[in-house]
Amino acid sequence: MQAKTNILSLPTQEFVHPGTRACTGCGLAIAYRVGLKALGKDTMLVVPPSCLTVLQGLFPVASTKLPCLNVTFASTAAAATGILATLKTQGKEHITVAAWAGDGGTSDIGLQALSGAAERGDNFIYFCYDNEGYMNTGVQRSGTTPIGAITANTPFKGKLQQKKDVPAIMAAHNLSYVATCSAAYPLDLYDKIKNCVNLPGTKYIHIHIPCPPGWGYDPRYGIKIGRLAVETGYYDLYEIINGEFKLTAASEKLVEKRKLVPVIEYFRAQSRFRILTDMQIADIQNQIDKKWAGYYKKDE
């Protein structure tokens, strides 16, 4: 597998221009920038309506230097399939097709097409950038919004349902590669893209994206909050390669350390979790502890 990249060995070529319409401190901007470095020049992008649509620029100016097709909300994965089909007829299969969709466009409206493409084994990388809500339209809840989060349409009670585990759904498709990443760990994201780009079939990479307006924090703490999600054991960085699960990077280190930051630190740092009760937090902490007890046991 890919050796761990460090900052100094990261390619310096940029594939995005500055001055985009992304929010100040946007987590997606960080992940996307590094993601494109890993994908490289011979890439074609597919993007549904989402924050990325806006980040990539309004007609007639594009902030992305790579070719990109904007498509309807539900059809991201199907469009990726279509581009692939054309590349095959042109003998240009060295070109990577990469779909970048938000959590709404993946776990909700886009799930059908994604599942279809995965079942067909269509050879592209699907990135779900998960800022845990329909942020582009003003912070509405999505399937991956975590329980208890205040959003524009769960304004007082917070989301009542659990976060949909999309990586697990994708793993059930017997893919060659499923991974979770975070904007707070961009080098890990870079490595994982390099790890999977030549594997067969559909590859799925889920990226946790801190979002200042959606989550409620001062933009300067974006990376810190992304790290807290991992250090509390709340969000795990892992790879599932041909069905084999493996914790990676900072999450892997936590197994060695055997010490998680209390999850309340993560919740306190964001105003969207302000209505979580002590009991709910204790419950969530319990679930995390149980999950990690399982990891520790596997490690022994």
């Binding site: 100094l8 221009h17 920038r33 933009p219």
Partner: protein, 108 residues
């Protein structure tokens, strides 16, 4: 001629900076670097560059010293927060407007 023709009839965008305009105008504070604390500056060789890595706007250059493109810097403060030696501080933009005004007064 082909692409030009197609461009007239469809939403076809070519790439360039500043789609959001002069996003530097979004700032309320700007990053200021203290070179005496900056690791690549002190060592005078390529090192750290964490500020370059984490800038969402790609306005910090991977140079010694790192430089901020104030045309587009939105002032998010991530560089200041992530810098391991606290070499970057976020300073109120108003201070610079005052300075600029003073400079202008001196000129006139």
């Amino acid at each position: 001629m082909g692409t030009r023709n197609y461009r007239r009839k469809t939403s076809h965008s070519e790439n360039g900076p500043g789609d959001g305009g002069r996003t530097g105008s979004w700032r309320v504070e700007r990053p200021v670097l203290d070179q005496s604390l900056c690791i690549p500056c002190k060592r005078n060789k390529e090192a750290c560059f964490i500020c370059w890595l984490f800038c969402p706007e790609i306005v910090i250059s991977r140079t010694i010293p790192p430089k901020v493109d104030l045309e587009y810097c939105k002032g998010c403060g991530i560089c200041a927060e992530e810098c391991p030696t606290k070499a970057i501080t976020m300073v109120d933009e108003a201070k610079f407007s005052e300075e600029d005004t003073e400079k202008k007064k001196k000129k006139d």
